[in-house]
Structures are given as structure tokens and as C-alpha cells.
């Protein structure tokens, strides 16, 4: 097995008296695409946010590319540069054009010169097929286009791993395909990805491994094929059954 890009050990997180994560451990190897599924409210998003420290875990350790980011004194902003994140509701910066959205972190965080940042941002926009929308503001883009810009924005920082937090859940059905296509291309190019999603077609086609989370812990994990066709845990079976019924076959075409 190639080296672990992300390693999580015994993660705990509670909001007040509500325990969201109660001992999550996992490892993601370079080039792996890990899909995380499970009912809502089981800590999937919280786990993702812990991996780039948008949420700080109460207990447990996280390593990214061998460095422990939960160690005291770790440079949080530097960690976040190396961990790309894509949100459910895009969170594009409303006052910046698509191009500027991709450029801003290059300018302000990487301190890249303007010209170079523009060139790189254009390249990333081309990669998600939006070079012709570079000068439009978020309000002028469709949901799918917004999410593709958000992906380009994260990619521009050249992250070691990309985290996707239900990237297609806020989209109209006909816009989901274009975002999934971009994500599939990424996976094919060897990007390490952790994806929280209900898109079973995408999971089956692209992911190498799957995790089923329930009540703050990983209830079952395994290679995608096994999880799909031979889930062990009865709750996994039940959940997969329900979700294929809901989202199922249509997504296979995507």
C-alpha cells in the first residue's frame, strides 16, 4: 500500500452534550478515492471539517502527509492550504468574479504575483471547463457552474487531498452530472479524495473504498465492490437499499 496522505486516529467531537464523533479512525492512501456514506447527523461533515481543522476535534490525532496537524503549535493556515475543501453550498465569494475567486487565495495566502496567479487560475478554470465564465460573478452562474468554480478554487492551491462535503446535494438534478464529471476526471488524474455523498453511481464507478458511518463511528468499511454487493452490517444493507431506491439508477447514467 502506498503512503497514507490522511491518517485519523480515535477522533472525538461533541457539541455541548451532543456527541457527534465518538472514536473515528481511518487512513487514506495516496490516489485513493474514499466515499463516506451514512444517514444525516452521523458526523460525516464534522469529520471532514476536522481534517482541515475548520472544526477542532476534542480528542484524537490527525496526520496529513505524515505531519500531525493536531499537534500543538501546528500552523493551521498552512495545513488548510494543503487540504482542499468543497462545500455543499459552494460558498463562492460573492464579490469576486469566477476568476478572482480562484485567484484570491493564490494572491493572499500563497503571495503569488498577480500575473502568475491569473495564469494558474485560468488553467484551473479550463480544467473544470469554465474558462469562458471567468469574468462572471457567482450570482450569474448556475449551481453546477458555481460548484465547478469552487473545485477549481480548491485545486489552485495544489492540495494533497480534496475533501468534498456533499458537493451535489444543493444542486438541481440536471446540474449534478457536470459536477460529478469534473470529480471523476480528478479521480482519474490520481487526486486523493474523501467524498461525502449520496451519489451511489459515482461511488460505484469512481471510489476505491467506502465507509459507512453511523452514530459517530465507522460502522463498516471496505473496498467499494464488497460494500456494494456484499455489505456485512445489517444497517449498511438497509441504508444502501434505501439510498439506491431514492437516488439509484438515474445516477448510474451520469
Amino acid at each position: 500500500m502506498s503512503k497514507a496522505i490522511v491518517r485519523v486516529e480515535n477522533l472525538h467531537k461533541a457539541y455541548g452534550s451532543t456527541e457527534v464523533l465518538t472514536g473515528v479512525s481511518l487512513e487514506v492512501a495516496e490516489g485513493e478515492v474514499l466515499v463516506v456514506i451514512g444517514p444525516s447527523g452521523t458526523g460525516k461533515s464534522t469529520m471532514l471539517r476536522c481534517i482541515n481543522l475548520l472544526t477542532f476535534p476534542d480528542a484524537g490525532h490527525i496526520w496529513v502527509a505524515g505531519d500531525e496537524i493536531t499537534a500543538p503549535g501546528a500552523n493551521v493556515n498552512h495545513i488548510r492550504e494543503r487540504v482542499g475543501m468543497v462545500f455543499q453550498d459552494f460558498n463562492l465569494f460573492n464579490h469576486l468574479t469566477a476568476l478572482k475567486n480562484v485567484m484570491i487565495a493564490l494572491l493572499k495566502v500563497k503571495k503569488m504575483p498577480e500575473e502568475k496567479a491569473r495564469e494558474l487560475a485560468m488553467f484551473e478554470l479550463e480544467r473544470v471547463g469554465l474558462e469562458d465564465k471567468a469574468d462572471l460573478y457567482p450570482a450569474q452562474l448556475s449551481g453546477g457552474q458555481k460548484q465547478r468554480v469552487a473545485i477549481a478554487r480548491a485545486l489552485a492551491l495544489d492540495p494533497l487531498v480534496m475533501l468534498f462535503d456533499e458537493p451535489t446535494s444543493a444542486l438541481d438534478p440536471e446540474l449534478i452530472g457536470e459536477v460529478l464529471d469534473v470529480m471523476k476526471d480528478l479521480a482519474r488524474d490520481g487526486m486523493t479524495m474523501i467524498v461525502v455523498t449520496h451519489e451511489m453511481g459515482f461511488a460505484r464507478e469512481v471510489s476505491t473504498r467506502m465507509i459507512f458511518m453511523e452514530k459517530g463511528v465507522i460502522a463498516e468499511e471496505g473496498p467499494t465492490q464488497e460494500m456494494f454487493y456484499n455489505p456485512q452490517h445489517p444497517r449498511t444493507q438497509q441504508f444502501l437499499g434505501k439510498i439506491t431506491e431514492l437516488y439509484g439508477h438515474k445516477k448510474d447514467e451520469a
Binding site: N52, L54, N77, H78, I79, R80, E81, V83, G84, M85, F87, D89, N91, L92, F93, N94, H95, I104, A105, K108, V109, Y137, P138, A139, Q140, A150, R153, A154, L157
Partner: protein, 238 residues
């Protein structure tokens, strides 16, 4: 017609000087208000508890009392403190303000309190996801505020801000009461000389009206120029 022209030539030199003073006070007060308003708004939204409390106290105090009373406390009241300081052997002369400076400070602090509220509601209209996304890209909290929150909230606050400009120009007229020679004061001066109050006061009113409408038009143009699709908010001086 000739009569009107003669009348105008008689009053304009005086009123023109007054208008300049009025505009000068407006510009200084608005700038001062911007300089206190933005930090006060940021303090009220992002500050630690004690700073939030301080900002809230400043904003509520200045919005809850009349401008004229604020002017009196600063112009007539502060020299009392100066005397007190001097009786204790300290220097207090800096608190004895020239009437012009008192006008700048009173109107500036007053405007700052209102501007703080415009900026606060603009800041709060910005989705928390914006800061989260900025942090996810590796920006610090301060970088996120400066690069993402402020540029958006400043644009959102422009309509409210253009109202504030018009308000300030109108409210500068209270400085006449502490004998600052503004437009209204010059008008009163001419009245005392020629005793024709109605004509002069209406002329003064028309000048204010033209300035205020001119500003509204200008700010509308600016707003249009800085407009970003999808970034709009309504606000007024409340």
C-alpha cells in the same frame, strides 16, 4: 428679473462661504464617522466580550440621544472637565475645543454610530460560509475579514451610506446653534442685516435641497458603478 439678480448678488458671497463651511463639516464628519464606524462595527461583531460591550455602548448612546445635546456636551461640557483636570494639576486645555473642532467631533462621532450600524447589518448579511471557505483556503481570520467580509459589506452598505451623506449635510445645520458660520448661520446673518427672513430662508432651503439631491444622484451613480450582481441590500438611517 433684474431685482432677483441683484438680490442674488447681494446674498451669494455670504451664502457661498457658508455653503463651503457646511460641506467642509460634512466631509470631515463623514470621514471621521467612517473611521470610527467600521472598527466599531467589526468590534461589535467579531470582538471579545468587553470590546463588543464598549462598541455597543458607544453606538447606542450616540443613536439614543439628540445630536444637538452631543454637541453641547462636547463644546460646553468638556471645558468643565478641563477645569477639573487643571484643579488637580494636570493639563486640560486640549479639552477646550474650538467651535469648528467641536462640530467635527460631535458630528463625526454621531455619524460613526449610525455608520457602525449600517456596516454591522451589512457584515451580518454575509453568509458564515464565506468566512469558512476563506479559512478552508488557508486565510487567517483577519485575512478573511479584510479580503472577503469587508469588500462585500462595504458594497452592501453603500445605499445606507449614501443616505447618511444626505443626512449629515442636513444635520450640519445644528452647528449654527454654537455659532459656527455655516450656510444657515450666514443666512441668519443676512436676515439680521436686511430683515427679509422668508426670501433668505427659502433660498437657504433650496441650496440645501440642491446639494442633497445632487449627492443622492452622485451616490446613485457610484452605486451603479460598483454594483455586483447578486450583492444588494436595503437600509436606511434608523
Amino acid at each position: 428679473m433684474e431685482g432677483i439678480l441683484e438680490f442674488w448678488n447681494m446674498i451669494w458671497p455670504e451664502l457661498g462661504k457658508g455653503l463651503l463651511t457646511t460641506l467642509q463639516i460634512s466631509v470631515v464628519a463623514l470621514s471621521l464617522g467612517l473611521l470610527t464606524g467600521i472598527p466599531a462595527a467589526l468590534a461589535r461583531v467579531y470582538g471579545p466580550a468587553w470590546l463588543r460591550w464598549l462598541a455597543t455602548a458607544y453606538i447606542e448612546l450616540f443613536r439614543g440621544t439628540p445630536l444637538l445635546v452631543q454637541l453641547f456636551v462636547i463644546y460646553y461640557g468638556l471645558p468643565d472637565i478641563a477645569r477639573l483636570l487643571e484643579s488637580m494639576g494636570m493639563s486640560g486645555q486640549f479639552l477646550v475645543l474650538d467651535r469648528m473642532v467641536a462640530a467635527y467631533i460631535a458630528l463625526g462621532l454621531n455619524s460613526g454610530a449610525y455608520q457602525a450600524e449600517y456596516f454591522r447589518s451589512a457584515i451580518q448579511a454575509i453568509n458564515v460560509g464565506q468566512i469558512m471557505a476563506a479559512r478552508a483556503l488557508g486565510m487567517s481570520q483577519l485575512q478573511a475579514i479584510i479580503n472577503i467580509v469587508l469588500p462585500q459589506s462595504v458594497r452592501l452598505a453603500i445605499p445606507a451610506w449614501s443616505n447618511e451623506v444626505a443626512y449629515m449635510v442636513k444635520y450640519t445645520s445644528v452647528v449654527f446653534i454654537i455659532s459656527v458660520p455655516d450656510l444657515l448661520a450666514r443666512g441668519q446673518f443676512i436676515i439680521s442685516k436686511y430683515y427679509n427672513p422668508m426670501e433668505i430662508l427659502i433660498t437657504v432651503g433650496i441650496i440645501y435641497l440642491i446639494v442633497v439631491l445632487g449627492i443622492a444622484t452622485g451616490m446613485g451613480k457610484l452605486e451603479e458603478k460598483l454594483r455586483i450582481p447578486g450583492l444588494e441590500i436595503e437600509a436606511k438611517r434608523v
